[in-house]
């Protein structure tokens, strides 16, 4: 049958996996390094990230301060590493929150269809039509700026996207014959959702999650820029860029170093996410 041509082409498209492996090594290595440092920051002999020495403010990188010092004379290396911790906590947890809620909404919508779908889509519409900034400002302004609240605010912002991805994928999978087969054996909706659909949803959601992490890390920076990010003196990459941005003319590295680290991390996340996505299905997770 002529489907064979397409099949062969499809096999060919997944072909150069060896090259992918190479391409994966660098970003994956970087991510592991960042995660490792973020976890072990307390034990690797870093100076206190909030210890100030105003006399030493905005010193360029040197042997003493490998990455220089910031506007308050704090060690940038230490701040970048501790900042990784903050940024990763926000970046990882916020989308998880969004994915738990959004995923549940999206799965229910895609599986049950009908009224549930209408309601869920309406809910997503409302969240999307609502300027996210107001939401984020409300949370951080009303509940106070803390790591938890910033994470919560950004988590809520990631609900609609997660719900859309979950819904689109569920719609695609729920029509597969194996779901029908599960129903012919009398499996309950809950069992079908958790055993048949969820496992298939995880890979695209994971790929999307990797991308969401990078978006959230950037978004935390935007909140910091508006003065509503993680409270000082706890460092976060976004906050460091927002702080350093002020001195772009006199000490560009105070902004550029965290920016570069964030850049590399986001780049790596996207690379890995893209590869995971390619391994699943290029089309469905486009949203």
């Amino acid at each position: 049958m002529s489907a064979s041509a397409a099949k062969v082409a499809a096999i060919a498209a997944t072909g150069p996996r060896r090259r992918w492996r190479w391409a994966l090594a660098l970003p994956l290595g970087w991510l592991l390094l960042v995660v490792f440092l973020a976890i072990t920051a307390d034990w690797i002999g870093l100076p206190d990230p909030s210890a100030q020495e105003l006399i030493l403010r905005r010193k360029p990188p040197s042997a003493e301060f490998l990455l220089g010092t910031d506007n308050l004379g704090r060690d940038m290396l230490s701040r970048v590493i501790y900042g990784a911790r903050t940024s990763l906590i926000v970046g990882i947890c916020a989308p998880i929150l969004g994915f738990l809620v959004g995923g549940a909404i999206g799965m229910s919508a895609g599986y049950f269809r009908g009224k549930v779908d209408t309601l869920a889509v309406g809910f997503i519409d409302i969240l999307l039509a609502f300027p996210s900034l107001v939401l984020a400002l409300t949370f951080t302004a009303y509940l106070g700026q803390s790591l938890f609240n910033v994470t919560l605010a950004l988590g809520i912002l990631s609900i609609p996207a997660a719900a859309r991805v979950a819904r689109a994928n569920t719609l695609a999978w729920a029509n597969r014959d194996f779901v029908l087969a599960a129903r012919t054996i009398g499996a309950s909706d809950w069992r079908i959702l958790t055993r048949e659909i969820l496992p298939n949803l995880l890979p695209p959601m994971f790929a999307f999650w990797l991308v969401a992490i990078s978006v959230i890390i950037v978004a935390e920076g935007a909140l910091s820029f508006l003065g509503l990010g993680i409270p000082a003196p706890q460092p976060s990459w976004g906050g460091m860029i927002a702080d350093g941005r002020e001195a772009l003319d006199v000490a560009p590295y105070t902004a550029l170093i965290p920016a570069a680290v964030m850049f590399a991390t986001v780049l790596s996340l996207n690379f890995v996410g893209d590869i995971v996505r390619n391994m699943v299905d290029p089309r469905r997770s486009a949203l």
Binding site: D177, F178, L180, A181, A187, S188, P199
Partner: protein, 319 residues
């Protein structure tokens, strides 16, 4: 032989937006006897798959009754229906799509047992192994593998094993071999025949390939645009089709023999109408070479014209 399954005045419609409905199955009455294989043939849009799904209540039909072993499935809900399900199983056209790509073969086949409450792991393992061997899969080789590691034919074996593991009474086979390669098709057809004998199954065998249907079916029902045209025992149907549509179908089949001249379908030119908007009266009339004014005004009822033979035509070719 008594009827295992009796479909009475079944109607399946589904909305396609804009207040319009596809008239997938219209007023179909059909019985499947215990132990027989009933072939159901028809072209795309004839409603044969909709019929299959409706009788499994996936989803329940719009109207009509589906009496299985004396109980009307359309009146059952929730737990009662779920308890009934293991007795009716289904095999699908696309074997790869009918298996969850994320689960291992053993899990897929064991799933029906888990759902129907077989909680003893050893017992489950035993029954899964047994059914694997029955369908010709080597349990030790396939146990922990996933569907994508198998070819279509092997996947269809897994699907058959899943359907058999609960030892159902009836299996609905929805185009079980049409996605398979020619050289594999015979294997699966033979397997189904073997399983039918071994487990005492009743089969509803849906296909568009007349030769395959002929080969497995005791009786054959022909559908066109949601209505039954003809129901007859296999040999007489193929020997002397009574409905002009059946005749046209048979004439259109390409025969793998260059010496057999191409038959004449005698069909009026044109494509089948849309099930969204089926013709009045006899639905085949727009293409029928024998159509009369009466065919447009009056729906021909399915009537008996022989001992095991029913036809829905005002002007049947036989009888």
């Amino acid at each position: 032989m008594s009827d295992l399954l009796a479909i009475q005045n079944l109607v399946v419609e589904y909305p396609v937006g804009g207040g319009r409905h596809v008239h997938a199955v219209s007023d179909v009455t059909l019985a499947v006897k215990r132990g027989e294989t009933l072939g159901l043939v028809g072209e795309s849009g004839s409603g044969k798959s909709s019929l299959a799904r409706a009788l499994l209540q996936l989803p329940p039909p719009k109207a009509g009754a589906v009496v299985f072993d004396g109980q009307d499935l359309t009146q059952m809900r929730g737990q009662a229906l779920r308890a009934m399900r293991p007795r009716l199983q289904m095999i699908f056209q696309d074997p790869i799509a009918s298996l969850n790509p994320r689960r291992k073969v053993a899990e897929i086949i064991a799933e029906p047992l888990i759902v129907s409450g077989v909680s003893d792991t050893a017992e489950r393992t035993r029954r899964v192994r047994a059914v694997m061997e029955a369908v010709g899969l080597d349990p030790d080789l396939v146990w922990n593998r996933r569907p994508h590691e198998f070819s279509g034919g092997q996947c269809q074996r897994i699907a058959i094993a899943r359907a058999l593991v609960l030892e159902p009474a009836l299996i609905v086979c929805d185009e079980p071999v049409s996605a398979l390669d020619v050289s594999i098709r015979a294997q699966i057809v033979n397997l189904l025949e073997d399983m039918k004998a071994r487990f005492g199954l009743t089969l509803l065998f849906i296909a568009h390939d007349l030769a395959v249907v002929k080969s497995v079916s005791d009786r054959v029902a022909v559908m066109y645009l949601g209505r039954l045209c003809e129901v007859a025992d296999s040999d007489s149907l193929f020997a002397t089709p009574a409905h002009p549509y059946t005749a046209a179908l048979m004439a259109a089949i390409p025969v793998p023999d260059p010496d057999v001249p191409l038959g004449d379908t005698k069909l009026k030119p044109g494509d089948p109408p849309s099930p969204l908007d089926p013709p009045s009266g006899c639905r085949f009339r727009t293409r029928c070479p024998h159509a009369q004014p009466r065919c447009a005004s009056e729906v021909p009822p399915l009537r008996r014209i022989g001992p095991a033979r029913e036809v829905a035509c005002h002007f049947p070719l036989v009888g």
